[in-house]
């Protein structure tokens, strides 16, 4: 049975209201009113099951799957080119890739079509550079710059060439964070030197 879920509590919405064509539907569990748009995919297979994949040993002269030699190869990986059976194939947009390539492309590759996660070092450097300014009203964290400024400098230089967001953007965040951190470090060093050499006197 296909279920359309409430936008608030994720519980199934009453099907009789869904099919009656009512715009707003009231959830029987949380009482929230939601407006779902339903697509035919809901009816296609509401309870997906693992595909039934009988072992088909390759006949004489047929190619065997690279990963499961007991299976007949039906496809080739668009990325690494090995012959694979249906069991090892994944459809990714227009491409067919083997599961090992899919894992590699998602976790390690810089290919924007496959990447699953990125750390935004430029934002992190900017936040570290701004931390003493943001926490200034709290007063008790006035010393935080001693830790965050060197950390921002190290991270910023270390990750100068690291990939930024998937959405292309410049280095202004990184540069601003580095500049702020540099000014803070320079300020602290000048203060220490002034104490050392007695410039303040």
């Amino acid at each position: 049975m296909a279920a359309v879920r409430c936008a608030f509590c994720n519980q199934p919405l009453p099907a009789d209201q869904l099919v009656s064509g009512a715009g707003m539907i009231r959830c029987r569990v949380c009482g929230g009113r939601t407006q779902p748009s339903i697509f035919p995919a809901l009816l296609a297979d509401s309870a997906p099951k693992p595909p039934t994949l009988p072992e088909e040993p390759p006949a004489e002269g047929e190619a065997a799957c690279f990963y499961s030699p007991a299976r007949r190869a039906t496809k080739s990986c668009h990325h690494c080119g090995v012959l694979i059976s249906d069991l090892w194939a994944a459809q990714w947009g227009q491409d067919t890739v083997c599961l090992k390539c899919l894992d590699h492309l998602r976790e390690k590759s810089k290919d924007t079509r496959f990447g699953s996660k990125r750390t935004l070092w430029d934002n992190m450097v900017l936040a570290l550079g701004l931390a003493p300014i943001i926490t200034l009203p709290l007063l008790v964290f006035y010393w935080i710059g001693i830790i965050t400024a060197p950390a921002a400098l190290i991270l910023g230089l270390w990750h100068w060439n690291s990939p930024r967001s998937l959405v292309p953007r410049g280095r202004w965040r990184l540069i601003t964070g580095l500049l702020l951190a540099f000014l803070q470090v320079a300020g602290v060093v000048t203060f220490i030197l002034s104490l050392w050499f007695g410039w303040l006197d």
């Binding site: 879920r5 509590c9 029987r28 509401s46 099951k49 750390t119």
Partner: protein
């Protein structure tokens, strides 16, 4: 924010913590950002238009709450501004100037908020997941984006209409597919006790600087500990269920507040120990007796600390205590709702989860040896 890159066209969101939504040739790209103030990581979710089952939009009450909070702030700052304006002196003039700036800033925020319009929550459902589209927060802009996604989904899925027959002759109360979702929270005795205790503990903690006496502090500590222990047990027992948002906020907020109280108490302990130790060294001659005197002295000093000893820091006591009261009050309505639901009976609640309906059967390709004598390959 760029309007397009590679095959993607901009739909909604920005580079902040809400993430963004992009229209791809055959799929929707949802950039789910995580972080505080800035986005520190991005998770990319690609959803094929052909696999979208539903898009669900609901209006939320956040709009009203934010509007009310900003209006109160404007009103308060305005009142202070008016009272300072009637006074003479340099300090009053400076204060009035600051107040005016606050009034203007908050008023601008309020106007922007009102212009943007009502808030909403949008969830997109496929056969295997329900994704909250965080970039769609305002009803007006969300409706335009949903219209575009609907158009694309219809293009990839066809115009087939959903009918009573196609939904399997659904009847009211009929069982639904429950996979991938948690059941709503049942009535919990632990939380029924914990939340009122938290309310009492918060009120008592806020009253610490006003009430002297060791007994009061001991009772306050015990009530506070009991509330948090019971809350922890209650949370652990309810981990299988879907907790209402306000209750989640209340619990996690009170736990964070508990740590803040602990840090503040630690600071107080250090201050107290320094003051009492100095006093004990001055007045106690017997070295063997010194340790005991100091330990009890610190506790008594902390228990009797008031505005005189703590000066401005006493307000931190009050603030942290009131925060606990706020969290307790935040959790109360959701708890009473669960109580009402349990009294109403099973008729309104969804069918209980059975182990077979909780987790879909995993796809486990067999572990097979590779061709050239390498270790077995496990696709998982």
């Amino acid at each position: 924010m760029k309007k397009a890159f590679e095959d993607y066209r901009y739909l909604a969101g920005g580079s902040g913590v809400s993430g963004s939504l992009w229209e791809g040739p055959d799929h929707l790209l949802f950039i789910d950002a995580g972080g505080f103030l800035f986005a520190y990581s991005e998770t990319y979710k690609r959803i094929d238009y052909a696999k979208v089952q539903t898009i669900n939009i609901a209006r939320t009450s956040t709009f009203g709450w934010i509007a009310a909070a900003l209006s109160i702030l404007v009103l308060l700052a305005g009142l202070i501004f008016a009272s300072l304006l009637s006074r003479s002196g340099a300090a009053a003039t400076t204060g009035a100037g600051v107040c005016l700036l606050v009034v203007l800033f908050v008023a601008i925020l309020l106007i922007i908020h009102l212009v943007k319009g009502p808030t909403c929550v949008v969830k997109l459902q496929t056969a295997v997941q329900v994704v909250r589209l965080k970039p769609l927060k305002r009803l007006r802009s969300a409706q335009a984006v949903i219209a575009r996604i609907t158009e694309l989904c219809r293009l990839h899925q066809g115009q087939e209409a959903v009918t009573l027959e196609s939904l399997g002759q659904a009847r009211p109360g009929q069982a639904f597919d429950q996979r991938g979702i948690k059941a709503p929270m049942p009535r919990s005795v632990w939380l029924m006790i914990a939340v009122p205790l938290l309310l009492v503990a918060g009120a008592m903690f806020a009253g610490e600087p006003f009430v002297a006496g060791t007994a009061y502090t001991v009772v306050d500590l015990l009530v506070c500990l009991a509330a948090h222990i019971l809350m922890g047990i209650g949370l652990a027992r309810l981990s299988r269920y879907e907790l209402p948002g306000t209750l989640k906020t209340a619990f996690w907020g009170s736990i964070v507040n508990f740590f803040l109280i602990a840090i503040f108490a630690y600071g107080l302990l250090i201050t107290g120990s320094m003051m009492v130790a100095a006093d004990a060294v001055r007045n106690v001659r017997a070295v063997d007796d010194l340790g005991m005197k100091v330990n009890t002295g610190i506790f008594f000093w902390m228990a009797n600390a008031s505005f005189k000893e703590l000066s401005g820091f006493a307000w931190i006591f009050v603030g942290l205590g009131l925060l606990d009261v706020f969290f307790a009050l935040l959790g109360m309505p959701a708890l009473t709702q669960t109580l009402r639901q349990s009294k109403a009976g099973e008729g309104t609640s969804p069918p209980p989860l059975t182990p077979s309906s909780l987790v879909p059967p995993p796809i486990t390709p067999p572990v097979t040896p590779s061709t050239d004598g390498e270790p077995p390959v496990d696709p998982s």
